[in-house]
Amino acid sequence: MSINAKDLCKDEFFYGHKACAGCGGSLAVRNALKVLGPNAVAVLPAGCMSAVGFNFPQLCFANNAIISTFAGTASMLTGIEAGFRRRGITDFTAVGFAGDGGTADIGIQALSGAIDRNDNIIYICYDNEAYMNTGIQKSGLTPFGAKTTTTPAGKNVHGNIRPKKNMFEIAAAHDIPYAATATVGYMNDFLEKVGKASQIKGTKYIHVIAPCPTGWGIPVSDTIDAAREIVDCGLWYLAEYENGEYNINHNPATFTSVSEYLKKQGRFRHLSDEDIAVIEKSRDKKWEKIRRSWNLK
């Protein structure tokens, strides 16, 4: 399924919300719904996108949409998918949009259950790497070194001391029919993956990097640049898991500077050269493994 800006549906399904300027998450939701179309039935847990989109009587989804409990994105999707099927409806797509905390922390149990049942749903995690809606607290997907309001950067501890959970491979380890990583910085790649997921039966998981200028400490005009650079410098990768195989979609010949990527962001500004060396080392280790054992496309 080839998707480009020209062919993208002109209708807006997520419009008039009050997300911050430069919000990567709202961009992911807006464009994914353009691919999935009017019969997408969206579930959003407590988090940024539900907070900015569902304030009665100002409700901003043009398609069917519902807020789930924080932990219940996947299980509510399961119920909706079963309910629509019971009503004899077949031309719909049950899709969840949950943040990094809603996915990797509080929602991981329900997500694992849905993948285990192989429910026919698409689960999209928009990853802005911290609990941004509540004011930038550390989540399980906050990267090593990042300063958040609960992992302050001081003399003794330089921000978050643990690396990101690997949600893509956690989803894949269930032998899910389809899982993918993406970034709003490479929008075509993300939207093609959404389109591809919509054609596959069973559970689909897409993990899309969606920068939050407020939480990352970058200008609101730099969302896309940051979302590209994270791939270009090798700290994120574009990959898919299907038919039991990992495929890497983009294998850079050289990486751009990790240090430059980090230093542009307020949340990493405190990092020492030693800290950055740790991050580069872990990147290299990951890529060594990817290049050794994944299919390079």
Binding site: P38, N39, V41, V43, S50, A51, G53, F54, N55, F56, P57, L59, C60, F61, A62, N63, N64, A65, I66, I67, S68, T69, A71, G72, A74, S75, M76, L77, T78, G79, I80, E81, A82, G83, F84, R85, R86, R87, I89, D91, F92, Q109, A110, S112, G113, D116, R117
Partner: protein, 388 residues
């Protein structure tokens, strides 16, 4: 109509089979498990056409049921004790969303200490969650409530989820002879679920939204009205039930010899049977004893209770619950009803059956005796001196 020898759980499952939920999502917990085992068998053998979803937790069980209900179909789940507490967030969510889900709760003690036996501290802790709460006394009533609950919950004026409570083991695992209605009669009694409170591809909706202080207040008022709206709907449903199945129920309460009683025990669940038996024995000795069994804790039968006990000299509230540092929740509710209705008689609270401890006939006799002679506000019945 068939007659079968069934446990409370099995009888309840028969009621759910007749109600034909579209989606059943459930997670196992003792002593609820037999309900979901029987329903799984019914789905397997084709006697029940439902989607049975094996969720990975109670939180997901109710979250999934809400998704199904939001799609406009009939949803059922079942739980107990820790499971009910684990899904507590979803209880409030379901009632706020006005999703008329039916849930069976096997009343069981709450940890710590761990204990799988019956008391009512699980469901009574959730009185404010916005669910209709009914308490069955026997397997037949459990089956009948399973069937009636959907009709009440799904009524337009109600649109409120419904929790049916069965005393753990004492009811869930005890066998009785039960009448099982015919499919045709059940279909005549309970029509398929129709609602506008659902997602719709032709008219897309945004559901389960946020509402600021002004609107939120209005939604909560409406939720209260929905719960109160259940009162006439319960009456009308029981009339229809009696017309089709011949079994009569008595609304929010079930009174026994209260008209001329001097001393009345107010209680709920299976223990009411022993209370009635004891009242009979005391009456044979010339003591005017009576019993009020609360069938519904929500909506609360304040007027019915006050009316039933207004001529008594004193009342006892016997419950398998304690709100530590105060009294049992049922006692608080009953006292409020009496005070509001101007019924000025002494009332005493008797706590028993916690963690499944037996309540004996002599315990009930002692309750009547203490109610007549006066006692402390809260008494843990049968607790030994060395246990204090």
């Amino acid at each position: 109509m068939a007659r079968k020898f069934l446990s409370g759980d099995e009888a309840f499952a028969e009621g759910i089979r007749l109600a034909k939920p579209d989606v059943i999502s459930a997670y196992p917990i003792t002593p609820q498990t037999i309900v979901v085992e029987r329903l799984s068998e019914m789905v397997e053998n084709g006697s029940l056409d439902s989607e049975f979803i094996h969720v990975e937790s109670e939180h997901s069980a109710l979250s999934c049921a809400m998704g199904a209900s939001a799609s406009g179909v009939r949803a059922f789940t079942a739980t107990s004790s820790q499971g009910l507490l684990y899904m507590a967030e979803c209880l409030y969510y379901a009632s706020g969303g006005r999703f008329p889900i039916v849930m069976m709760n096997a009343n069981r003690s709450t940890a710590l200490p761990w204990n799988i036996y019956g008391d009512q501290r699980d469901s009574l802790s959730q009185l404010d969650s916005g669910w209709i709460q009914a308490y069955a006394e026997n397997a037949q009533e459990a089956l009948d409530l399973a069937l009636m609950s959907f009709r009440i919950a799904e009524h337009r004026d109600v649109s409120t989820p419904f929790m049916i409570n069965l005393d753990g083991f004492i009811l869930t695992h005890t066998y009785e002879e039960v009448n099982i209605p015919d499919r045709a009669d059940a279909d005549r009694f309970l029509e398929p679920y129709e609602t506008e409170n659902r997602l719709d591809l032709n008219e897309p909706k945004n559901m389960a939204f946020s509402a600021g202080p002004d609107y939120n207040y209005i939604f909560k008022y409406k939720e209260h009205q929905g719960m109160l709206g259940a009162v006439p709907v319960i009456k009308e449903t029981e009339e229809k039930f009696a017309e089709i199945f011949g079994r009569k129920y008595t609304g929010l309460t079930d009174t026994y010899l209260t008209e001329d009683a001097d001393y009345i025990i107010i209680t709920l669940g299976t223990i009411a049977g022993l209370c009635r038996e004891t009242a009979d024995r005391l009456r044979a000795e010339g003591k005017k004893a009576g019993v009020v069994r609360i069938r519904y804790m929500r909506p609360f039968p304040a007027d019915e209770i006050a009316e039933a006990v207004k001529n008594a000299k004193a009342v006892a509230v016997l419950e398998k619950d304690i709100s530590f540092g105060n009294e049992g929740a049922v006692f608080t509710n009953v006292n409020s009803a009496l005070l509001t209705a101007g019924v000025k008689i002494p009332s005493y609270n008797f706590i028993g059956g916690l963690g499944g401890r037996n309540i004996s006939a002599s315990d009930i006799e002692e309750i009547f005796e203490k109610t007549e002679n006066g006692t402390e506000k809260v008494t843990f019945i049968g607790i030994g001196v060395d246990e204090k």
